[in-house]
């Protein structure tokens, strides 16, 4: 019996054929790699969570795209990141509603075609032309989701009746147990509401601004700490903090789902809405891919995903999205009051005038508010 050799192998390949095959394999490798690399990378600038696998993995697999998220905390931080980057760095920008106008004024975002998005299906009239999202009849941002900020509390130490007013933060038993999300805008907005400024909460003349500062300073003795996103979660979860100023269901919702005895309500003085919207970055070369993703997020399936986002929940903004959520996850829809007829339904609260959209100070600069915040923290 003949012993198999390289020239007459068991596979019937001659040395020449083997070399040819090997050479072909080597030469085609770069093309094979390039085929893999054809996945389109979309640079996303967003709050934490929006580029995580629970939000984008499925979409990435189905559309051969890869999201590269850069996370920020706060609109100022977002604007600075864009300002310090070359045009076209970010393809997709998730912005807080109140900062869209500044993005547009600075020329950081592209105009969008309203016909591409389900504006006729929005749950509230305001959402169709949300403040700041349109300029000169042109649309620059698509509202994706929202959430309401009010009184967030531990149900073991604050009753639902007490939580119906910001007054509960001054409850003597909560001394040292009231925490702050470390951002001046929501807290000072709430203090402004507590002072009775209602719809004019951001438009404060000197007297009203002084009064807001005085009210806020009055709360200092109750405060047990100033926290970032993770610290806020921890503080409420381990019971160190029994009430939190400046947050809402976007934090307590996650803990509540985890079984913690916490909740958020909109008090009688009113609450604040945070709004998250998608824009297309100016100079992006992937506008078609980005538009497709925004359309996906505005679809019923995308809205459900957004409402269930692991990092922090937000309410659906389209009717079809809400219907899909109720069908897909009734428990979450009920917990977050996204049910028609629920008195805490976010849309009902807006209609009844309890909710004010978050904005930036109208008569003071952001730095004035920030300086006061530093003063307050060191008081």
């Amino acid at each position: 019996m003949m012993k198999p050799t390289l020239t007459s192998s068991l596979y019937g390949l001659s040395r020449r054929q083997l070399l040819k095959a090997g050479g072909a394999a080597v030469l085609t490798t770069p093309f094979a790699s390039r085929a893999w690399a054809a996945t389109t990378e979309i640079n996303m600038l967003a709050w934490y969570g929006h580029g995580e696998p629970d939000m984008v993995a499925e979409y990435e697999a189905a559309n051969n795209v890869k999201f590269v998220p850069k996370y920020y905390a706060g609109g100022d931080n977002m604007l600075a990141l864009i300002a310090q980057s070359p045009p076209g760095t970010y393809d997709l920008i998730l912005s807080d509603g109140e900062f869209v106008q500044q993005l547009n004024l600075a020329g950081y975002i592209e105009e969008m075609d309203p016909a591409d998005y389900p504006l006729d299906d929005m749950l509230h009239e305001d959402f169709k032309q949300f403040p700041g999202h349109w300029a000169d009849g042109k649309m620059y941002s698509m509202m994706l989701r929202g959430g309401h900020l009010g009184v967030s509390y531990n149900k073991n130490s604050v009753t639902a009746e007490e939580a119906a007013s910001y007054e509960c933060f001054w409850k003597p038993e909560l001394a040292g147990k009231v925490g702050h999300f470390d951002w001046h805008l929501p807290t000072l907005g709430m203090m402004s509401l507590y002072n009775g400024n209602g719809a004019g909460l951001w438009d404060l003349d000197d007297a009203k601004w002084s009064a807001v500062q005085e009210t806020t300073m009055g709360l200092r003795k109750q405060v047990g700490g100033f926290f970032d996103y993770g610290g806020t979660f921890n503080g409420l979860k381990n019971g160190e903090m029994q009430a939190m100023v400046g947050i809402g269901d976007w934090i307590t919702g996650v803990l509540e789902k985890d079984g913690a005895p916490v909740a958020s309500v909109i008090p009688k003085e009113g609450g604040i809405q945070f709004t998250e919207s998608y824009s297309i970055g100016k100079g992006s070369e992937k506008t078609a891919e980005v538009k497709k993703f925004i359309q996906h997020m505005m679809s019923p399936a995308g809205q459900v995903k957004s409402a269930q986002m692991a990092a922090y929940p937000g309410f659906c903004v389209t009717k079809a999205g809400r219907a899909a959520l109720i069908e897909a996850d009734l428990a979450e829809a009920t917990r977050s009051h996204q049910i028609d007829g629920d008195p805490q339904d976010p849309i009902t609260l807006i209609n009844e005038g309890h909710i004010h959209y978050r904005d930036i100070p109208q008569q003071q600069g952001l730095e004035d508010w920030n300086d006061f915040w530093s003063e307050y923290k060191s008081a």
Binding site: A83, G225, G239
Partner: protein, 287 residues
């Protein structure tokens, strides 16, 4: 005629010094100069623009909150230094004079191990221990005490500082004391010195340099630490590093943050130079 060899620069020695000189120029002097220049820049539309304006200095240095943070940081860093020095001393003393050579080596190795892990992770682990439902309060609960609030307090901040500095201070103190001539200690004891007086009048003066260096390191690390006061102190009374973060976070005021950073550096320089001068000052009768 031959020139005096002492008056010429020693090129060989200079060559060996060049890397460290370049290193200092590129990674210390350059950035510091840029930071000083930046403190005069202005921020317009979230973008820094070159300028020469004192507005950042006047804005920061005339505000009460800056000085509140400043003095709070000085006090808490001093408290941290005192605590670390006091806690470390008995341990270092035991390792230097009571432990065998091999035990000391193992102890120093074990003290280095914490530096293998992230300081942030070590800090977060204190949540489990110090929270009101944590390990310490659970143990105190067995004897009818507590619960005590330890997180988001100065105590929490100090615990964080100790996590950062204590191993280093123990190592520095141990190494310093281990190098003291034991004959001097024995002589003091033979001449009738009490144990306390031997420590006070022999060991501490002989290890003065190392102790002061350890204290300086502890102060510098605590003074500039952001993690402990933010996560364990709850940012109550913001320290200067937290103020830097707050300043940059809102309005991206890097120039104002530069003012805070420069004030921190000036303070640390003053303390470090004073400390080093004290450390190497010759005592009475010294040659």
């Amino acid at each position: 005629m031959s020139s005096n060899p002492d008056s010429r620069p020693n090129l060989y020695a200079l060559t060996w010094r060049l890397p460290i000189i370049f290193w200092q120029l590129i990674f210390f002097v350059g950035p510091v100069l840029f930071m000083v220049a930046m403190s005069f820049f202005l921020v317009k539309n979230y973008r820094m623009t070159e300028a020469f304006d004192f507005v950042n200095w006047t804005r920061m240095l005339t505000r009460g909150f800056f000085w509140d943070s400043y003095w709070y940081t000085v006090v808490i860093a001093t408290a941290s230094t005192v605590c670390a020095m006091c806690i470390a001393f008995p341990a270092a003393f035991a390792l230097a004079f009571r432990a065998s050579e091999s035990t000391r080596r193992w102890a120093i190795f074990l003290l280095i191990i914490p530096f293998f892990t992230s300081y942030l992770v070590r800090t977060f682990s204190w949540f489990v221990i110090l929270s009101e439902s944590g390990v310490v309060n659970a143990m105190l609960g067995y004897i009818g005490l507590g619960p005590y609030t330890m997180l988001n307090t100065n105590f929490g901040t100090l615990v964080g500082y100790m996590t950062l500095t204590l191993p280093l201070v123990v190592i520095l103190q141990t190494v310093t004391m281990a190098n003291i001539d034991k004959n001097l200690i024995e002589a003091a004891r033979n001449l009738g010195c009490s144990a306390f007086r031997t420590i006070w009048q022999v060991i501490i003066p002989l290890s003065k340099t190392g102790l002061i260096i350890a204290a300086i390191f502890c102060f510098i690390l605590s003074f500039g630490d952001f993690v402990a006061p933010f996560y364990l102190g709850g940012s109550q009374e913001p320290t200067l590093p937290i103020l830097i973060l707050d300043t940059t976070k809102s309005g991206q005021q890097w120039p104002r943050a530069a003012v805070v950073a420069i004030m921190m550096m000036v303070t640390l320089f003053a303390i470090a130079f004073t400390g080093i001068a004290l450390a190497y000052r010759k005592g009475k009768g010294a040659k």
